[in-house]
């Protein structure tokens, strides 16, 4: 049933250009208006109209004018709810879309911002099988977050989104398609495992302790230790004096990640390896620099630097 509906929809979209008219990507902001809002009765709406028909025939048959009046009132209210449903979408504006960060294969979070001049209730944003309901207050913007699956690195155009509402009574469903002309950058997926980068001076002598400000251990007093280092409280329970020993591990040495070092690998494999190294470097709080064809990122560290490097990787042709 569902598959058949899908086929019919595809056929209709191909045959009726009016339906697909707004499927072409368009630039933000997108404002919904009457030429792009569609409205049909829901299955409940169809059932309810049949009920209204039964009520109408019953009232007419028994010549019961009070019942007829009630039926007319209910029918007119249902018809009015169609206009309310339309008005719930009409004039709604998608003002901007902000993409989050994600590596290929993970879902990327999109942040959509909707503006409206009046209050709107019970609007759903559909993407594939996920659906998010939100409301917009008058003269404010609503932030809606939705997760979009990704497959591969690089610029990924935003998918077609659907806004729909069955406000207020659930009798009619109004919907409109949104296809913002915008792309989000998907980072490359790091390879699961592999060799560490060749670092020039990555040996033990870099790891020796030197004086720092983290407490490492207590040791016996040696002549020449400064008095303020003596741990008096701990010494009181021991025979001899104990001294606090401070140390600081030296920060790991810098990595110079270079596209040219991985000459034996394919392009995507190189990118995956570099991505893994970037991740490791970030986890080990190293500072690192990245050389890519056409791009050279000087040494640095921190999340911004990481994002910069990953984005550069993602954008490789």
């Amino acid at each position: 049933m569902r598959g058949m509906l899908q086929r019919v929809q595809t056929l209709a979209e191909r045959r009726l250009p009016a339906l697909t008219r707004y499927r072409r990507p368009e630039s933000l902001p997108i404002e919904l208006h009457r030429r792009r809002i569609y409205i049909v009765p829901t299955s409940f709406g169809v059932g309810f109209s049949i009920l209204l028909l039964v009520m109408l025939v019953g009232a007419l048959n028994y010549a019961n004018n009070a019942a007829l009046l009630l039926t007319c009132l209910l029918g007119a209210a249902s018809a009015t709810s169609m206009l309310v449903a339309f008005r719930n979408l009409d004039g709604l504006r998608l003002s901007h879309v902000h993409g989050g960060n994600a590596i290929a294969g993970q879902a990327i979070e999109l942040t959509l911002s909707f503006d409206s001049g009046r209050t709107r209730n019970a609007i759903r944003l559909d993407l594939g099988d996920t659906s998010i309901a939100f409301a917009v207050d008058a003269n404010t913007s609503a932030i809606v977050r939705i997760r979009v699956p990704t497959a591969q690195r690089g610029w990924q155009p935003l998918p077609r989104l659907r806004l729909r509402t069955s406000w207020p009574l659930g009798l009619f469903r109004a919907w409109s398609w949104l296809h913002p002309d915008q792309s989000v950058l998907v980072w490359p997926r790091p390879e699961p495992a592999g060799p560490p980068p060749h670092a020039p001076a990555d040996d033990a002598r870099h790891m020796r302790l030197h004086q720092g400000d983290e407490l490492a251990a207590l040791r016996d007093y040696r002549a020449g230790d400064p008095q303020r280092r003596i741990a008096w409280k701990a010494s009181a329970r021991h025979l001899n004096l104990l001294v606090k020993d401070f140390e600081q591990p030296q920060s790991p040495p810098q990595w110079q990640l270079d596209w040219r070092q991985l000459a034996g690998l394919g392009k995507e494999a190189r990118i995956a390896r570099l991505a893994r190294w970037l991740g490791e470097a970030q986890a080990q709080r190293r500072s690192y620099s990245l050389w890519l064809p056409g791009t050279e990122i000087p040494s640095g560290s921190g999340p911004l630097h990481y994002a910069h490097c990953m984005s550069a990787l993602a954008q490789l042709p």
């Binding site: 007829l68 009132l73 998010i132 406000w167 659930g170």
Partner: protein, 656 residues
């Protein structure tokens, strides 16, 4: 902003608010139907409803299947035990309401709620099959509010108003829908004949019956419901002539008077001196008889004039009925009495009421052949013989008339008319009992006579040679107010506090609204609908025309609705308007603003082209840029100054 909530495609459980509103709707429907359902049934359903609501509220527990099925079986059994069948109006309503409440037990998903609400709307409508009064209709329409609010509550992501406030938007929706609803009501073509059998209600409210035995009027005389409303062409008859005949009763078996069924034959002749034309709108009486003012001249459509000039409709009156006819006010009815009628009018059961017979024989001997004198003697007896008018008379024995005349001497119209008629027959004067209504409340605001069930009355007719049948009201001899002021005045303080004067006056005035409702809404039938366009010169509006009218006006309403839906409030930008004006003025001088040209560039160009006004344009440009870009919102005073400056700006001459 309401935080967005994730939502699965599988149907989510319904919220507490939606369930509360659904329970409220069901309770409302149950309350509306309570008056015509057995009380124990209503109590049980209310308990089920309350328990289910409490169960959902405490913990969203479900009702096990082993409980639901026996309840369903019990419901069906209860209906069958109560009424013997599940078909018919009352059993059907009982079953429907029971099913509606039981639906609540399995309501877990939005789909169940929607089904329940649809069913509740239907049940609301069926409440109108029992009573279509204005107040009932209004209350039933109010029942739509919780129903609509329930449907709204099913929608995701919305504000959370309090329970009473969540009912309000439904009111707005109904108010907006009212014009369209009224239009559809006016134009939906009515059926000339029902598609299937209209229900015949079995339970009849108290009304006039075709037999009269002592005491069976008591219920009627305390029933305040309107029986009919009468409006007259010209001046209404005076109160003592407001006798509405319904049944003429000939047969007396010693206990009750009976109307002769099927008294066919031509209506008896009548010589009319004065007649009046009037319209009656009759409330459903579930009987065929149509009361008429005094003696009618002809029957209205779909009714027959009987031999004694009673009017019987072809069908029992189950819906409000409007009819108009003419009646004689001063007349001679059946001037020549045929032998059969004389025999009928003198017939009495043998071996009943011996003392009455003795009294009548005495009168006959005293007054000889003067029938009128005997009538006067009987009325004098009622007036002076210590008789009392009461709605709660002492019970009478086998010789009812003897007991009444010589022992108890208390009673109301049916005792008096019965005793009087028996007296006359014993004295050899043809006589009969007539029942109907007498009096009524004349409503001066809308010029109509309101006749209530409590105005039911019984009187006598005697046949006098040369005068025909003459109406004699023996009750009037005992209690003249009964005739001149009406039933309430005669009953005095026997009717309880709620019939006190001011309250009665209020009810009488309020009746205008009811009359308007009955005539304008309930009485709007196929016939009236056909005359809808008479003011526009169309005499007979047929179904096709009505359908077309309905279509046209629906389109009109859709257009209005669409206009409202498409209404966009343009944000008015005064600064932009002022700049447009300036551009227009400069364009006259040949300085058009180019596509994509900024205001600064454009105005500088204008200043270069118009050296004489360079300073002026420079100031305008500076002001504009200041107003536009230095503030979020242009301040009022400088904006006004800028607009004034633009208005006063004139292009002097052009140097190209």
């Amino acid at each position: 902003m309401t935080p967005p909530s994730p939502d699965q495609r599988s149907e989510p459980a319904i919220g507490q608010r939606a369930f509360d509103l659904l329970s409220l709707t069901m309770a409302f429907v149950l309350g509306l139907h309570a008056p015509h359902l057995p009380w124990w049934f209503v109590v049980m359903l209310a308990l089920v409803l309350g328990w289910r609501w409490w169960q959902r509220r405490l913990a969203s527990g479900t009702v096990p299947r082993w409980l639901k099925l026996p309840l369903l079986a019990m419901l069906t059994l209860a209906v069958i035990v109560q009424y013997g069948s599940i078909f018919g109006r009352v059993p059907g309503a009982m079953l429907a309401i029971g099913l509606l409440i039981l639906k609540l037990l399995e309501t877990e998903a939005p789909r169940d709620v929607r089904v329940g609400i649809s069913f509740a709307c239907f049940a609301l409508m069926t409440a109108l099959l029992f009573d279509q009064g204005m107040l009932t209709t209004f209350v039933v329409a109010l029942g739509l509010l919780p129903a609509l609010a329930t449907l709204r509550a099913l929608e995701p992501a919305q504000g959370a108003p309090t329970l009473p406030r969540s009912l309000l938007p439904g009111l707005g929706l109904l108010a907006a829908a009212l014009p369209l609803a009224l239009l559809a009501f006016l134009l939906v073509p009515r059926l000339g004949a029902p598609l299937w059998g209209a229900p015949s209600p079995t339970e009849a409210r108290t009304g006039l019956s075709d037999s009269m035995s002592p005491g069976n009027f008591t219920e009627l005389l305390t029933d305040d419901h309107p029986a009919m409303r009468v409006s007259f062409d010209g001046t209404p008859p005076p109160p003592d002539q407001r006798y509405f005949r319904a049944y003429v009763m000939w047969n007396y078996d010693g206990r009750s008077w009976r109307h002769i069924k099927g008294s066919l034959g031509h209506p008896v002749p009548i010589e009319v001196a004065r007649s009046i034309h009037y319209r009656i709108s009759l409330q459903p009486s579930h009987q065929r008889v149509l009361p008429t003012l005094d003696v009618p001249l002809a029957a209205p459509p779909r009714a027959i004039l009987q031999r004694d000039r009673e009017v019987l409709a072809d069908e029992p009156v189950n819906d409000p009925l409007n009819y108009q006819l003419s009646s004689a006010l001063s007349y001679r009815l059946q001037p020549a009495l045929d032998e059969r009628s004389r025999r009928l009018g003198l017939r009495l059961p043998t071996h009943f009421n011996p003392r009455t017979r003795v009294l009548a024989t005495q009168w006959r001997q005293r007054y000889g052949t003067d029938d009128a004198a005997i009538v006067r003697a009987a009325l004098a007896l009622f007036h002076d013989g210590g008789f009392r008018y009461t709605l709660a008379p002492a019970p009478l024995g086998r010789d009812a008339v003897d007991d009444f005349l010589f022992d108890t001497r208390e009673g109301f119209c049916e005792h008096y008319s019965s005793a009087f008629t028996v007296l006359m027959r014993d004295a050899g004067i043809p006589a009969r009992v007539v029942t109907g209504y007498q009096g009524g409340y004349w409503n001066p605001l809308a010029d109509y006579l309101l006749v209530r069930n409590s105005d039911a009355h019984a009187w006598s007719e005697v046949w006098l040679a040369g005068r025909g049948w003459v109406r004699v009201d023996p009750t009037g001899a005992v209690r003249p107010e009964r005739v001149s002021l009406g039933a309430a005045a005669a009953a005095g303080d026997q009717l309880g506090w709620y019939r006190s004067d001011w309250l009665q006056g209020l009810r009488n005035h309020w009746d205008i609204v009811n009359r308007w409702w009955d005539q304008g809404v309930i009485g709007f039938d196929a016939l009236r609908q056909r005359g809808l366009l008479t003011p526009f010169g169309v005499q007979d509006t047929d179904t096709a025309t009505l359908g077309m009218l309905l279509a046209i006006s629906s389109v009109l309403f859709i257009a209005i609705g669409l206009g409202w839906a498409l209404l966009r409030r343009q944000t008015h930008d005064a600064l932009r308007t002022a700049l447009r004006e300036l551009e227009r003025k400069l364009a006259h001088a040949g300085l058009r603003r180019r596509q994509g040209e900024g205001p600064q560039h454009y105005l500088s160009r204008a200043a270069r082209a118009l050296p004489g006004q360079r300073r002026e344009l420079g100031t305008l440009m500076g002001n504009y840029l200041e107003l536009r870009y230095a503030h979020d919102e242009p301040p009022t005073e400088p904006l006004r100054a800028f607009r004034r400056a633009v208005r006063e700006f004139r292009v002097d001459g052009v140097v190209k």
